[in-house]
């Protein structure tokens, strides 16, 4: 089945009949693909996604999405609930493999390597593309073990001293060191929500990834913890590429350089964050950003 691209971008803006729940599975799914507004490509891509489709069983959750992630940038993904942001994000480190009914088509490359190639091992891939989840999920082990687990299984350190160093730098970079340096042996689950989330970020950066994926990392946090994590993201950008899913427009505007707007599995518009928030080209984007959309 080949997708037939090309439904005009303007003709279905008000068409509520395209709700995913009411849609029947079948070839007509593919006709709903819309042309992406704006330029999804960059000059120095770290990750390249071309014509990515994601299916949950018969349902198509992502339709022909093409987008690049540049080095040292924060790419924000916004869009109404259920539009497929998490689904797409989870494709980038093959986390979708854990969902048995999920099927990914298309091409996703990390530094030129096709990550869905059958010969690719997901273990090193996930070490290179780290992930921070919506709900903080520290291991129910000590703070130290939370950080050291990744480096340990990947054999990144030779001795305890090096491990201590990794733990310390990761915690410092995550802005958590001052708060926890005296209780590294206490369980990570005993920290506050915001601290737990920073612990998870520290855990992700401890394995020196190239890309960090964040799925609504601040949705469970108060404004102070949120601003700490936003500062942290800005800081991390100097070393990593970051893809962040967020529901907070302000947050996307504050932390990201580029923004992608998703709608019902389509990548509707992508562009510089300033441009998207001040001058969106697509009607859907404008509606969503100005709050006229559900």
């Amino acid at each position: 089945m080949k997708p037939t691209a090309g439904a005009d971008q303007d003709n279905n803006t008000e068409d509520t009949g395209t709700e995913p729940a009411r849609r029947k599975a079948g070839p007509d799914l593919y006709t709903e693909f819309q042309q992406i507004v704006g330029n999804p490509y960059v000059d120095n891509p770290r990750m390249v996604c071309r014509d990515v489709y994601v299916y949950y069983g018969e349902t198509c959750a992502i339709k022909k999405v093409s987008i690049d992630v540049a080095c040292n940038e924060v790419l924000a993904m916004i869009g109404p609930s259920g539009c497929g942001k998490s689904t797409f994000l989870r494709c980038l480190n093959r986390m979708n493999d854990t969902v048995s009914i999920c099927r990914v088509e298309g091409e996703i490359r990390l530094d030129g390597m096709d990550i869905y190639d059958p010969s690719v091992d997901v273990v090193p891939l996930r070490a290179k593309v780290g992930m921070v989840f919506q709900k903080p999920n520290p291991f129910p082990k000590s703070i130290y073990e939370n950080i050291s687990y990744g480096p340990k299984i990947h054999g990144l350190t030779k001795d305890k001293h090096e491990m201590d160093e990794i733990v310390e730098t990761s915690l410092i970079r995550a802005g958590l060191w001052e708060e926890v340096k005296d209780r590294l042996n206490e369980p990570g689950t005993g920290l506050s929500g915001g601290q737990q989330q920073r612990l998870c970020i520290a855990r992700a950066i401890a394995v020196s990834p190239e890309v960090i994926l964040m799925d609504e990392p601040c949705s469970a946090l108060d404004p102070i913890a949120t601003s700490k994590i936003e500062d942290l993201i800005a800081e991390l950008r100097t070393q990593y590429s970051i893809v962040i899913v967020t529901h907070a427009m302000q947050q996307a505007a504050r932390v990201s350089q580029r923004t992608a707007y998703f709608h019902l599995g389509n990548l509707v518009e992508v562009g510089d964050t300033d441009q998207i928030f001040t001058n969106p080209k697509h009607q859907l984007t404008e509606d969503y950003i100005t709050g006229r959309f559900g």
Binding site: M131, F133, F139, Y149, I153, A206
Partner: protein, 425 residues
């Protein structure tokens, strides 16, 4: 126009319905409480019956005898083959010199347990220097005397209907007057094996038999059950075959246990030739029975580990197997152990399959290993409950008490583990 008097929605009909709702709630509460009361009453009834029937078995009647270890008895004899009964008989005759006639003497001699001669034998074998001396020792009384001392013999009945005749009662009275008979803690019950004589029967052999059986069961069913659960829950693809396996495991848990006994008889004994009546074959059969329980419990506890933990581990690049063994399994372990202990408790109380594989045989010797013939606790209870002697009635209840004590301990352990390792997220 009486707009002001418009009825509040919270009156009249509403109040009536509210009252009905509360009444319904009240009724349900009462129903629940009475159900619990009913259950508790039955439990109390059960416990009271068992305890009141069985507590006396922990005490045993002993009689003081002054035994003269005459040299002549041991002359030219192996120490093990000397006529110890003669020593006891003489001691009794000396105590009651005026007893005349063979019958009366036989009755008198029968008042001491046949186990007494083994007691003497042990004494002499331990210390041959006793030969030629006179010793005052306590020996167990016959079970009829024991029953009399515990008040189970109704002396108002005609003499011919009683196990204790008037003459015997007189002798006992003499002992009582001389302080030569008393109830003491019944060590025999906890240290010896089964016997035809109630006063000599003990549960130690059955406890050991059960222990060996459970060791086999645990050693086989825990690793197998956990491995099966991990595979099914974490690795197996979801397809027809795995769902068929799943259904069958659930069905297996509901198969009557006697059928496992038949299977064990057919396969382990007749086909593999494992000796019957042994803890080894008992353990194998109980493994078959316990496996589904453990698999189901282990799967449930694996399922209860939040998926976010798996994602966290996979997210930092742990492989599937690392995720399972480093993170999921430790979190699921308390639940698995709880399920295992409950499965073990079930296995401990299981009788029917053991009957099928011959663990119901009358076995006096205390088993020393996995391939010695042995009884198990519940089978012992079954055997004693089947025995006609009055003395076994109290033994039956006492053995039930011991079994219940083990079961309660195991369940308490399960609860303790659950509480101790419970993780709050």
């Amino acid at each position: 126009m009486d707009a002001q008097h418009k009825e509040s929605p919270f009156s009249g009909e509403f109040n009536k319905r509210l009252k009905q709702r509360y009444q319904a709630q009240q009724r349900f509460k009462l129903l629940g409480i009475s159900a619990i009361m009913f259950a508790l009453a039955f439990l109390a009834f059960l416990l009271i019956t068992i305890i009141s029937n069985g507590y006396s078995a922990f005490r045993q009647t002993y009689v003081e005898l002054t035994v003269n270890f005459e040299k002549s008895i041991f002359e030219g004899e192996d120490l093990a083959r000397a006529n110890y009964q003669a020593l006891i008989n003489r001691a009794l005759d000396e105590k009651f010199p005026d007893v005349e006639g063979r019958r009366a003497k036989r009755t008198l001699h029968g008042m001491i347990s046949t186990g007494a001669r083994y007691q003497l034998m042990d004494m002499v074998q331990d210390d041959p220097g006793l030969i030629g001396t006179t010793q005052t020792i306590w020996v167990p009384a016959d079970d009829d005397i024991d029953m009399f001392m515990k008040g189970y013999v109704d002396m108002s009945q005609p003499e011919s209907d009683r196990r204790i005749k008037d003459q015997q009662a007189q002798w006992i009275q003499t002992w009582i007057d001389n302080n030569m008979i008393k109830l003491r803690f019944n060590r025999t019950f906890f240290t010896s094996g089964d016997s035809r004589d109630p006063e000599l029967a003990g549960i130690w052999a059955a406890v050991k038999g059960s222990f060996y059986t459970l060791v086999i069961t645990l050693a086989l069913s825990f690793p197998m059950g956990v491995a099966a659960a991990i595979y099914l829950e974490e690795f197996a693809p979801v397809n027809r075959i795995t769902s068929l396996i799943e259904i069958n495991i659930n069905n297996l848990a509901a198969v009557p246990s006697i059928i496992f006994g038949l299977l064990g008889l057919a396969i382990f004994i007749n086909f593999w030739g494992i000796p019957r009546s042994t803890p080894l074959v008992g353990g194998l059969v109980l493994t078959l029975m316990t496996l589904p329980t453990i698999i189901i419990a282990a799967r449930a506890s694996l399922k209860s580990v939040p998926p976010s933990i798996r994602e966290a581990a996979l997210g930092v690049g742990a492989s599937k197997i690392q995720t399972v063994f480093h993170h999921v399994l430790p979190l699921a372990m308390p639940g698995m152990l709880t399920g295992t202990i409950i499965g073990m408790a079930q296995a401990l109380g299981e009788t029917a399959p053991l009957l099928m594989i011959g663990m119901v045989a009358f076995i006096v010797d205390i088993p020393g290993g996995f391939t010695d013939p042995a009884a198990a606790l519940p089978v012992q209870i079954y055997l004693w409950a089947d025995s006609p002697e009055r003395g076994f009635t109290e033994k039956t209840s006492a053995a039930i008490m011991v079994l219940l004590a083990f079961l309660v301990t195991m369940n308490a352990l399960a609860v303790y583990m659950r509480k101790k390792f419970e993780i709050t997220w």
